[in-house]
């Protein structure tokens, strides 16, 4: 079984509200997999279930052939939450060092990884600044750096490029491709259609259901349309 993330009939209820309805999807190793859908469609909820921060009401999840939740698995997953969760009274470097030590990186490896991750997100010059003086985009980039700190095999990124300027967005995507070529598996959520184009495989989510999935070109062919945005509208319309 080479699939890295396996989601099997996952449903999630908050009280009576059904937020995820029988979601099944498979992310193959080495893929960039995009979860695309409007806000409130359940992307974050699904992502949290994959990481093990929340448990599904029904169904189950395997990551790297291990049933979720499992503590050791978290060592191998890099997670970037939708909301920046950073210690604003610490510097960027102290944030990275703190998370690095939670992953039990050795001192010299820690230094290397901090330098690497900071360089990747273009924050090397700002590492000594306190995070409370960072702009929104800088915080986003630091969150991404934190997700990469332990050199994980799987990256789960919840809306990683929100609030980041187009130029840096390009460079982050370039880096995601580079990580993919190293054999890492990446799951990103987004509500921006033009980012969907960049994924190897897509799942379109609406109201807690996957309305369609496949590679961008497959989807366009299937619906006979050239823009993914229209695919989304058409596939969504078919459901109703």
């Amino acid at each position: 079984m080479s699939s890295t993330i396996l989601i099997n009939k996952v449903s999630k209820r908050f009280g009576k509200k059904l937020v995820l309805n029988q979601i099944s999807l498979t992310v193959e190793s080495g893929q960039i997999y995009g979860l695309i859908g409007p806000s409130g469609s359940g992307k974050t909820t699904l992502v949290k279930i994959i990481v093990g921060m929340d448990s599904p009401s029904e169904g189950n999840v395997h990551v790297l052939n291990t049933p979720v939740p499992k503590l050791q698995l978290l060592q191998r997953i890099g997670y970037m939450a939708q909301a920046d969760a950073l210690y604003t009274d610490l510097t960027g470097e102290e944030n990275l060092a703190f998370f690095a030590s939670l992953f039990k990186l050795k001192k010299n490896v820690q230094q290397e990884r901090i330098a690497y991750a900071a360089d990747l997100v273009n924050l090397t010059a700002d590492l000594k600044k306190k995070v409370q003086n960072y702009s929104g985009g800088m915080k986003r980039r630091l969150s991404l750096a934190v997700a990469l700190i332990q050199d994980p095999e799987v990256l789960i990124l919840d809306e990683p490029t929100v609030g980041i300027d187009p130029e840096l967005r390009q460079s982050i995507w370039a880096e995601l491709y580079r990580l993919k070529n190293e054999g890492k598996t990446i799951l990103v959520t987004t509500h921006v259609m033009d980012e969907a184009e960049k994924c190897d495989c897509l799942a379109m989510v609406r109201d807690g259901e996957i309305i369609t999935s496949g590679s961008p070109s497959e989807l366009k062919k299937q619906y006979g349309i050239t823009s993914l945005e229209e695919v989304f509208l058409k596939a969504g319309g078919k459901q109703q």
Partner: protein, 366 residues
């Protein structure tokens, strides 16, 4: 060790947060100093107006530190105008005492002093009468060598098991206050710190790493615990060396008690923070969870509480802390006498710690 990563981070944050640091280290000293001066300030002699009192009684009243002012009438206007605390009026055999009673405690004390003075004066008069009477009898019966000591008002020699004649309320109160401030400020700082971590999402982020839930709780206990150690030593040293608060027992026993209190405060603070969504909601716990503690810490005598209040008192960590602190600082008892209090406090913190570890399941099931 992941715990040490957490401890290191807490140190970074605390050392940078000058306000929190000052609140923890300096605020207790300020409050203690204020209370020390307020409660040990010299009491002003009460001012008593008198009408028709005889000189011997006046001497006696002056001896018991009462300022005497001769007045003509005991009307309200006059009492208030002359700023008197009361008027003592002799009208033949009738004695009346009018008290201003604006401060009931002072009024009671004045009333007792006046009554004692009058009673002592009466006893003296009777003793004098008695000896005159005895002398009369003896002169009539000269062959009887009866000798009767002139009766005197008895002198009572007082000795104290705890404290001495100069002991004031603050001496008994200060051990409780020292413990309470440690408890209160540790509760506040640690509770708000973890609350911030919840509301900014960093706690959730933390739990997306392979850290154990218990490591988070222990990391917090250790990190803030080290600051509590420093705080305890500063507060106790200041209270004893600078304010000259009575410390009969061992300094280190006081530190041990305060540290166990701090441990309870820490674990309670981070536990209650999981029921709050904002700093303000955290503050709302203070009147419920913290203020009542001080009432049951020994300021009001346990024996005089109603039965259900006694049960309530035994549910309060500060009851045991206050008890142990008074035992050591005021009564000079040793470690073996406060052992049980310490164990109960450790029991409290153990329960809170376990509840904390369970409460973190809200964020991650494993």
């Amino acid at each position: 060790m992941r715990i040490f990563a957490l401890v290191k981070r807490i140190f970074h944050q605390m050392l940078r947060d000058k306000r929190a640091l000052a609140l923890m280290m300096v605020a207790p000293l300020l409050v203690l100093t204020l209370l020390n001066y307020l409660l040990s300030g010299n009491t002003v002699d009460p001012r008593l107006g008198v009408i028709n009192a005889d000189d011997k009684l006046l001497e006696r009243l002056k001896d018991s530190e009462i300022t005497i002012i001769q007045v003509e009438a005991n009307t309200k206007d006059l009492i208030l105008h002359k700023d008197l605390d009361g008027v003592l009026h002799f009208d033949g055999d009738d004695i009346s005492l009018t008290l201003t009673n604006d401060q009931p405690n002072a009024a009671k004390a004045l009333q007792i002093k006046v009554q004692q003075a009058i009673a002592a004066e009466r006893a003296n008069e009777q003793a004098a009468n008695l000896s005159v009477f005895m002398e009369g009898i003896q002169s009539k019966l000269p062959e009887v060598p009866l000798k009767i000591e002139a009766a005197k008002a008895p002198e009572v020699k007082t000795s104290y098991i705890y404290g001495n004649k100069d002991t004031i309320f603050f001496d008994q109160l200060s051990p409780i206050l020292v413990g309470f401030f440690v408890f209160f400020f540790v509760f506040l700082i640690s509770g708000i710190a973890l609350l911030r971590e919840r509301t900014t999402g960093t706690l959730e982020r933390l739990l997306a790493t392979p850290i154990q839930r218990r490591d988070i709780v222990f990391g917090y206990l250790l990190g803030y615990g080290l600051f509590a150690v420093i705080q305890t030593i500063i507060v106790v040293t200041y209270a004893v060396k600078v304010l000259d608060i009575t410390l009969v027992g061992s300094f280190w026993n006081v530190v041990i008690i305060n540290l166990t209190l701090a441990l309870v405060a820490l674990s309670l603070g981070i536990l209650l923070s999981s029921f709050a969504n904002s700093e303000f909601q955290m503050m709302q716990f203070i009147p419920i969870a913290i203020i009542p503690q001080v009432f049951f810490a020994g300021i009001f005598p346990f024996e005089s509480m109603a039965g259900w209040m006694q049960v309530l008192a035994k549910c309060m960590p500060m009851y045991y802390g206050g008890n142990a602190l008074v035992d050591v600082m005021y009564k000079g008892l040793g470690l073996s006498d406060i052992r049980n209090d310490i164990f109960v406090l450790l029991g409290f913190s153990l329960v809170f710690i376990l509840l904390n570890i369970v409460a973190l399941k809200k964020y991650r099931k494993i």
